[in-house]
Amino acid sequence: MNAPDRFELFVLPDGAKKVTMVRDTKIPNASMFTILKEDHTIGNLIRMQLIADQDIIFAGYRMPHPLEHNVNIRIQTNNNTNPLECVQKSMECLSREFTSLENSFIEQVQKKRNVADQYI
């Protein structure tokens, strides 16, 4: 009866911005990104990619509350770059990785199908 609608998990409300960034006022080169209507799937993916970057001093994510379907990603970088550039770079890396994964998968499926109809 009072349970929230399930589609609130993934439907972005009208007028809401998918991504917002709040610069930290106390620590240099640090920011908090908030992504609406995402969960650990994207949060963990981005965080692990950020950690692979040597310019990142700190990268972590959390979902503030189970009823708030948002991901907060906190990033701190060194002076070589800034948080926005780092996040954009890491997401570009992930996009490229999944693109090559998709191409590789399609190619493998075609190859497998051509081998005398493997379907059982």
Partner: protein, 302 residues
Amino acid sequence: MSQTVSQLTRQPELEILEIKNDSIIFILSNTDISVANALRRVMIAEVPTMCIDLVEFESNNSVLCDEFIAHRLGLIPLVSDNIDKFCYTRDCSCSDRCDQCSVELRLNVKCTENRPRDVTSSDLLSQNSAVIPVSSQVTSSNSEQEIPIVKLRRGQEIKLRAIAKKGVGKEHAKWSPSCVATYQFQPIIVLNQNRIDELTDQQKEEWVGSCPTKVYSYSPHQSTQQVTIEDPLRCVYCLECKKKAESFGKPDLVHLEQKQDKFIFTVESSGALKPEDIVLYAIQIIKRKLTDIQGQMAEGML
């Protein structure tokens, strides 16, 4: 200086071990566990399929009430190979529903015989020939069983109209296309043959038998290498073999490890989508998410 995008981008490798009508097994390697886990999560909860979501009863004097039958109808997997052609009802421009965002199925059965009649998924007639119950598909190796919905006695009748809609497993598990979507690590098992040779024959047999999934094999007829690894993939890391080895006073008899950048995926489909399509849709959905977020970032941040 800063690492470039090219330097940070991994080149994942993929190898498909097996494709069947309802399952696929493949190896994903040279990538991070977060990528494998994102893929797994999306395959389970974010790949869309068609499922019955609304039921309008005109007549039902069977022994089951309306809600019970509606729930059972919702759990029948429907063929969703054309899922890309449909849009979500909440995104559709129509006022209530239309052919673009829903499919109507009808059920109209009356029992006129003396014996009870089974109402099954084959009695569901679809307005769209591309969206039918999976069990009603005509395939070359058709051993599909019809899904029973309700039993009717003589004189009982059920007449209803069911509306199938596009949805994702995040909203209700009935929309999930995967029965199973898991990955396991490649186990690395190293046997210390010198330590094994120090065991008596009975101890070797006991040690091999300590493994509940029979990873090891024992061949007493061979003069050397009597104990070997039969199938490392069966290992479930219960460490029973290590405990047994320690009880024999030989803790270094076996070494177990997981290869942390190689993932063996098993995806089993409910039939709504082909297993390779599930994986492909999952990859595309993750790409779309990343692209959406990148696009939002490009538009004035702050």
